[in-house]
Symmetry: C4
Subunit: 384 residues, 4 copies
């Protein structure tokens, strides 16, 4: 690549690849088995065509919106990304600072590296993402700590009853303790001395900040997977939502809904929001892209909850598309993780400010003066 | 590439890439954000199939046509291209000469390098393209100068209320004043010494010929963008067309219409022509290709104005396709800019003469004896 | 390829390519003429989308199933692959052992290298695949030996009345006795010394284990093809099934059915199972993929026989898809042959255990608690 | 490419590229302008799916057929290819010999290198292809010579009223007399010394064998094109067919029909056959592939004439497809020209014998016992 400055999520991805040890890059970039859904998530947004309108007065239009009760500079939030703290030194704290400066919510994963306290101290209250653990006592403690640190929005992820199968992890030797596997990992680490020094050495500790009593350390992927597979609870059903609502005073969004029937059930269960998601294509390969399912889910929900969406959103234009299809807002995972890996807090800030300009531009050229005006009539659909 | 002579728009593009500093090549070649629309503009023409007919007497058929009242050797015009004067020494003058020799209209951009006087002196009257500026006094002065220099056709561009977002400019450091950005630009300039000497040094001055009082100089992209964003008027609405018609005696064509509703409004506003355009995919990425929208717009206009089209037209066969879909004529942007960059006036002449042969051939083999005979019946459409 | 561990069928394919002489790799990998059907077999599975469901209790779900009366750990069997014994030293015995350990059936080809006795001694009873030979006495003897070795399931292959046309064999000189052809083959052999020593030298003998009286040796492809073309019987019709049922007490599955009309005939003929197959795209290029034909065949059969399917299945998710489309189970050919070539018995074991995890995961995330629950409602189909 | 033997049309194409001077290779390989139709011709055949049928008695089936009254070993003929004599020494004579040995018709082009007498002396009577020249006296003389040499089938080509626009010729300097163009051509010639000696030097003379009085020499492409453009008659209409029938006692096939309306007119004009063709995509780029138009034309003709088809046929399976769509036979152009260039008469023989085996195999596996049994029911069409 010739010497160039980064402009897009994909540019930051390339920079991240050059900076991170391969297994870490692959951990973010990859998905379940053959990664069809990962690719579909991205590709399918591109099929949604916008309508260019002219000679509309577009002086002084505005991108601000409200997501799950929180005022935002634009209808976008940072999705929970486990282990994000390994992308850069104390990664979640850096990204949360960038999100706060940009005026958008940051979501901290159950399996983040920085503890909630460190993140909120750096950047104020954030959203907290929960995985259901077999030990409900631990869950209750997590929720309590989140509440106390000022968090009022809970993102409850339901599409990870067991961890997905990621071939790249196998290839990189993360699932084996053999000498060959250890050699592969060591080779990948040694070829990234800058990351080693800055993050691995100076960015300690690398335990899971919110689960220090539960899991040993985050560096050991094999042990981590084993812990997930024994501690995450695959027997959770809709009944559990009642239990959760009893523990949590704030808003609850159900993350990982990809089917209209499940969306209807979610509304019935009384959650405030749902996140249409296939976990970024990391769980079940072969399921539809989120954009393909979004319209039917919006229709099924019928205003009974806020519908957010994530998966494959790679530009401000994609955020516009999500809204035009009926979502209230969008979440992004890999884009911010890569920007963070490539250039730390500054990278995330830059990405967010560019996307906001892009969204503003899309509004300007379609003649939508506010996010509320971004509806289906802004799309170019073949007549049927 | 083996040693070869140029035959197509794409061949000239390759030659231009070898001759221009990268940021300049990218400025022409690129488009908005992910450039989906740029690609769709080109790709979608290829889906329009022609009908081969045989044993029709095709001796002595003819390509000549009339566009917006002007007799042309074929139904094609050169679209306005800002900064074209940087493609070759005094570029607009060279291209206008080639257009005149070929018998087709040349359109000078508001933000061209050569002033109107220089161009008309070299090549006779041309079409003039207008962007609406906040300062209506400047606009009035521009129009007056255009009229006095013999121009009778005004192309009023309405799809640039603000300037689009072009990632390539960011990557090439055009939007930053940092040392790194300056280094990138300098490196790109130094690797093209022939252009530097011929155009940058000997092709002076490089101010915007028609706006010398308004904008400092064209070489500084960052300052240029800032000027566009403060001076271009995003509050213009349909009402403004009345004002414009009061200032201009000649024909007015509205450039940048991509929606049937806007086309209807344009007819109502009383313009003589519309140019179906998405600004070559340079403004809002994700909008439909122009060919996809052309038929519905032709239908909506219903003869109330001349419908021209641009975007992705890359051959004489594409010009034929545009006419078969109901357009009266086609405009081209990048093709002439690249031919100019690659081989100056001679390049543009060669391109135009080849396209004319190609159009003639398409007419011969479909049995259409004049542009007027190129209609929907010349297309091969699956029965429905 | 960077240093990595194998995770998928495709990874094993790459390793096999590095280990096998080219003509042998091409013999497995290739197909009939232009290999359109080979590619379609694989590509078309990817178009079948799964439905992600959440908050279903998926603790302790199970993949076990029954195929043609045999209890299996999952609904998968190893398809018959001729000459598989050349992939690794005494290849069929190794693969059969891996299959037995994994709890899935192994099918021995009529033209396998290891004789039935060798395979069953190593791994217990297997399925036996039959080609109809002109000399019915030989066929009867084959069936008798199979029965005596404990085999109770006969797979009768009907899509190879003559051998297909495989361009790769021609290119690699397998169909010519010219000096140039011999040179090509010798060069390919010499570039794979590890295989030469391990398999060609130490893996002797290389006759067709079940046909030692009939065919000279397996190493000579040209003689083998000639033998197939003279000995295989292209005049076999449905009437022959009666004869076959008279010879064989166990279950019979007809392999190579790709048309609903033929499937109906098979049910009428009274077979226990059919294998929807186009011989892995090795016989008639240009026929539909097996997945494209599966639903219509399932409907035609209407429960009158067990429907299995093979062709292009490359993951546990594909096995899930086959069941969701109505198959009772799936067979795989190339995947196990490549795993065997790459890493022997251990390779096949690893592949099978990974696919089982993958199938389990697909069940978990679609909420199907057993193979019987994998039906059409687990697929995401656009409403019509 | 590793050392391999040729098996397909595409393999011969690669060998031809290595042997011919580039401009000559490009002359055969290329097509009109952007070559969309060239590609569509090939790609669209692949979309026609065959139906695999099993347990049909396919012992002793047969490919022989009758085309325009001539008994053939299979329903295939060699299409007229101008300048084919430059592919190999005395090229048309070599190819005609191979065609005769294989039992299929050879068509000699008006603008072939070898005169009719030389070809028929080598290989017996062939088909003769006619372009209409302005000078009807010359045409009459041509027809008389053809008749006297035993030719009874006239192929009258109607899709070349003027010569097409082939960008590759421009790129290779064939259309320019400049020093640069001459240099390009000389460089290409000098890099192919084997061809230079064998064909250019020892294969003399290189005049157009049937037009020695009319055109100077074939080596000069520019002069050739000029001659075509002045001598070919673009004013020919359907009325001319009457004149032609008056001159010719034998069968007449109209080559270049691509539209159902023209096919109807051809039947009305009383010709014995039509060849559905777009001149191999060499005349009007952007027209449909021949396979796309074949079914409608077959229906329009309704048995009133024999329908042949050419364009993009690259295998015996494609020949099968043509018949299944209603054609009586197929013609091939580039495939034989490349085989001839790569390996002379032997190459053409090999290609034809392989295609016959392929056709036989397709018949075997679809259960069609003769070309007459290859009908629409042999295709796998989605139910509607
Ligand atoms: C590396 C990585 C780690 C993730 N970890 C979590 C997690 O801990 N909790 C969670 O709910 N989702 C997690 N996700 C899913 C994201 O929240 C989000 O749904 C997904 O990344 C959206 O797709 P995108 O990456 O294409 O934007 C993770 C995603 C990635 C890429
Ligand atoms: C480098 C460049 C500069 C342009 N500048 C102008 C301009 O100043 N005014 C305008 O109305 N359109 C401008 N356009 C748009 C063109 O007039 C035209 O709509 C577009 O180029 C057509 O698409 P094509 O390039 O695919 O032919 C510009 C286009 C390019 C490529
Ligand atoms: C190298 C090879 C040899 C094969 N030999 C036989 C065989 O002897 N008998 C048979 O019935 N099928 C044979 N087949 C077909 C397989 O049984 C099976 O139908 C096919 O491989 C399934 O497609 P897949 O390879 O894409 O999984 C063979 C396939 C391959 C790849
Ligand atoms: C190099 C070349 C020369 C040709 N010359 C003639 C010709 O002289 N007369 C004619 O009727 N068709 C001519 N054709 C067209 C062929 O007869 C035929 O229609 C076409 O090649 C079929 O397409 P295919 O090449 O894809 O098989 C020519 C084609 C090629 C490729």
């Amino acid at each position: 690549m010739p010497l160039q400055l980064p402009a897009t999520a994909d540019d930051y991805r390339r920079l991240a690849r050059a900076r991170l040890p391969r297994f870490l890059f692959d951990y973010i970039d990859g998905g379940a088995t053959d990664e069809q859904t990962v690719r579909a998530n991205v590709a399918d947004w591109a099929t949604i065509a916008l309508r260019q309108r002219v000679l509309v007065d577009v002086d002084g239009i505005d991108t601000s919106a409200t997501l799950l009760g929180q005022a935002c500079s634009m209808p976008l939030a940072l999705a929970p990304v486990g282990l994000a703290g390994l992308m850069a030194r104390r990664g979640e704290a850096q990204a949360a600072r960038a999100a706060r400066a940009a005026g958008v919510p940051f979501t901290l994963s159950t399996v983040g590296i920085c503890p909630l306290a460190e993140v909120t101290e750096a950047a104020g209250p954030v959203w907290f993402q929960l995985y259901m653990l077999r030990d409900r006592g631990v869950v209750r403690a997590l929720l309590q700590r989140a509440w106390e640190s000022g968090c009022r929005t809970l993102v409850f992820t339901v599409d990870l009853p067991v961890s997905g199968m990621r071939h790249r992890d196998t290839r990189n030797g993360l699932e084996s303790a053999s000498a060959r596997a250890r050699l592969i990992r060591a080779g990948q680490l040694l070829s990234r001395p800058a990351w080693l020094l800055d993050v691995a050495v100076r960015g300690q500790p690398h335990a899971f900040g919110n689960l220090t009593d539960q899991v040993p350390g985050a560096a050991d992927f094999t042990a981590f997977k084993a812990w997930v597979d024994t501690q995450f609870d695959p027997s959770v059903t809709w009944a559990e939502i009642d239990w959760l609502r009893a523990q949590w005073q704030g808003a609850i969004a159900l993350k990982g809904v990809l089917d209209a029937e499940d969306a209807t059930a979610a509304v019935r269960a009384g959650v405030q929001g749902i996140v249409v998601s296939n976990h970024g294509g990391r769980q079940l390969d072969g399921v539809a892209s989120t954009v393909a399912k979004l319209p039917a889910i919006v229709q099924a929900v019928g205003g009974g909850a806020e519908v957010l969406v994530d998966g494959g959103i790679r530009s401000g234009v994609d955020v516009f598309r999500a809204l035009a299809l009926g979502a209230r807002g969008a979440l992004i995972g890999r884009p911010w993780a890569f920007a963070l890996a490539a250039a730390g807090e500054r990278g995330v800030s830059d990405l967010l400010s560019r996307w906001r300009r892009e969204l503003l531009l899309a509004m300007t050229l379609t003649g939508a003066r506010s996010p509320a005006e971004i509806d289906g009539a802004r799309l170019d659909r073949p007549k049927s």
